[in-house]
């Protein structure tokens, strides 16, 4: 009887991991649609190709070497046998090992896809993919091993012992992705015509706001898997309660973020900017991701709203600093990712402000520096940016040889 119950718990927890992992995979569709909607039509095919292929690259590189760097085990996931169990492995496993890989790999892909929006419209496709290989194979897994992996940072200190806590990855996934994005943006430069010679900031409106909105809603849905799955179990009263709280808070934070951003945009610009509202939803989600389990419903809403307010300030400030980010990725995931980390100690005694700050600096420092070096090497070897003429014609023609919205198709 006990064994039956154990089997059921194992199966249910495994099922839960897999479904949540599938929801996070669905976020890739969200990113693809959001980015496709916010770039110009002549660059749409290229960004879609980038999104599809980076997901594939992430899955493969994490299987080849990333997972083993982050959590141990042999490369090529060879410790997991054909029947899905770990050779000579944990007898105390409460869910299938492949489910663990599956759940983790979609997070890697999420971190990687944050970079694609920030460098959109001017980075060469294959330069980006070359970076993706390094980011998903080494850079992310290293900082993942120091955080969720529990390993000391180059043997010096262990973040968990210092009071660092990041439930589903505001820092580990989102801020890390934004750090890489920032390195990329600095090295690839702004889009032609974005900043004028006298400090003007020129608008480059996105081609398809319905797609951008769809993308945001898809991300919102996928996020339930992102945060919900990070409870890591559901087959007990306690974990089921935790899962429910996480879903509820995740949803409320998104709502708070949307309203916060919308109202601030209205105050600052006089109009309701849809793209700011969309970024606001995502900012709310990022803000709660480090700690969706401990706040009350009202606190979660307020945390989300803070994310929404912060993201609007951040987007306009980055433009003033001539950091060209067509989709606001660095603001949504980086600036608000940091906020997410700092909000955790407010409702969770298991984390300390100093621990969060040390963790943030570690993650940001590692990812930014290694990404900068990687992008720099790629720049020297093959160049990062499409040529000026290719940029005017559109990356779709130069990188992909096709149009997203063909004018004269039958």
């Amino acid at each position: 009887m006990e064994n039956d119950i154990f089997q059921l718990q194992y199966a249910l927890d495994t099922f839960y991991f897999l479904v949540c992992g599938a929801l996070v995979m669905w976020m890739a569709a969200g990113f693809a649609m959001l980015e496709a909607g916010l770039v110009r039509s002549k660059n749409t095919v290229e960004i879609l190709t980038k999104n599809v292929t980076l997901f594939a690259v992430a899955c493969i590189m994490y299987m080849v070497v990333g997972y083993s760097i982050m959590y141990g085990g042999d490369i090529f996931l060879s410790t997991i046998t054909g029947s899905g169990v770990v050779e000579g492995g944990e007898e105390n496993a409460t869910y299938a090992p492949s489910a663990d890989f599956f759940f983790q790999v979609v997070f890697v892909a999420t971190a990687m896809s944050i970079v694609s929006g920030a460098v959109a419209e001017r980075m060469k496709l294959f330069a980006f993919l070359a970076f993706a290989v390094v980011m998903t194979g080494v850079i992310y897994p290293m900082e993942g091993s120091w955080t969720w992996g529990g390993n000391p940072v180059f043997g010096m200190y262990t973040l968990g012992d210092l009071g660092f806590l990041d439930f589903a990855g505001s820092g580990i996934v989102h801020m890390a992705g934004a750090a890489a994005a920032l390195a990329g943006v600095m090295l690839v430069g702004a889009r032609k015509g974005k900043y004028g010679p006298n400090g003007e900031i020129n608008a480059i409106p996105g081609a398809n706001l319905p797609l951008a909105t769809l993308g945001t809603f898809i991300l919102w849905l996928g996020w339930f898997g992102f945060n919900g799955g990070s409870v890591l179990a559901t087959a007990s009263v306690d974990s089921a309660n935790a899962v429910a709280v996480v879903f509820m808070n995740t949803n409320l934070a998104a709502a708070g973020g949307c309203i916060g951003a919308l109202l601030l945009a209205k105050v600052m610009f006089g109009k309701a900017d849809l793209t700011m509202a969309l970024n606001g939803c995502l900012a709310g989600l990022v803000a709660i991701t480090a700690g969706p389990d401990t706040p009350t419903a009202l606190q979660a809403t307020i945390f989300g709203a803070l994310g929404g307010l912060l993201v609007v300030f951040s987007i306009t400030t980055l433009d003033k600093l001539k950091i060209d980010d067509p989709v606001g990725a660095i603001s949504v995931h980086g600036v608000v990712g940091l906020l997410g980390l700092l909000l955790v100690p407010v409702t969770n005694d298991g984390a300390s402000f100093s621990g969060q700050i040390i963790g943030a600096l570690t993650i940001f420092g590692w990812v930014f520096v290694t990404s900068f070096i990687t992008f720099f090497v790629i720049k020297m070897v093959m160049g990062l940016r499409v040529s000026e003429e290719e940029e005017y014609e559109g990356a779709d023609l130069s990188e992909c040889g096709m149009e997203a919205y063909p004018e004269f198709a039958k």
Binding site: I201, A203, K271
Partner: protein, 112 residues
């Protein structure tokens, strides 16, 4: 034969089309264009950055008609397309040298 070209506000297209069929015009060609006369553009906002939109969406209608119908056509279009506000558009009339109906090969006024 004459070619009457009218640039009008997009939401007036249905009214103009109705007025033209009431007077017996059988065919028109419509295209979506952008333009400005003395109306000038307006300022829009995108993520905090202002930009000026000079070109406003308009609809261009082209009708090939017999010489005798020109004045009626101009009057019909004007009445239907007018709002009294700036940006109502313009009507141009040019000479049409030749018309062929592709299906039958008819030419001249029979092809109108």
């Amino acid at each position: 034969m004459k070619l009457v070209t009218a640039v009008i506000k997009p939401f007036k297209l249905d009214d103009v089309r109705e007025a033209l069929s009431t007077m017996g015009v059988q065919g028109i060609t419509v295209s979506e264009v952008k333009g400005f006369g003395r109306q000038k553009g307006h300022t829009e906002l995108y993520r905090g950055a202002e930009y000026v939109v000079d070109f406003l969406p308009k609809v261009k209608i082209e009708i090939a008609i017999a010489d005798g119908m020109v004045d009626q056509t101009i009057e019909a279009i004007s009445k239907a397309a007018q709002t009294g506000k700036i940006g109502d558009g313009k009507i141009f009339v040019s000479s049409l040298e030749h018309v062929t109906r592709i299906r039958t090969g008819e030419t001249g006024e029979e092809a109108l």
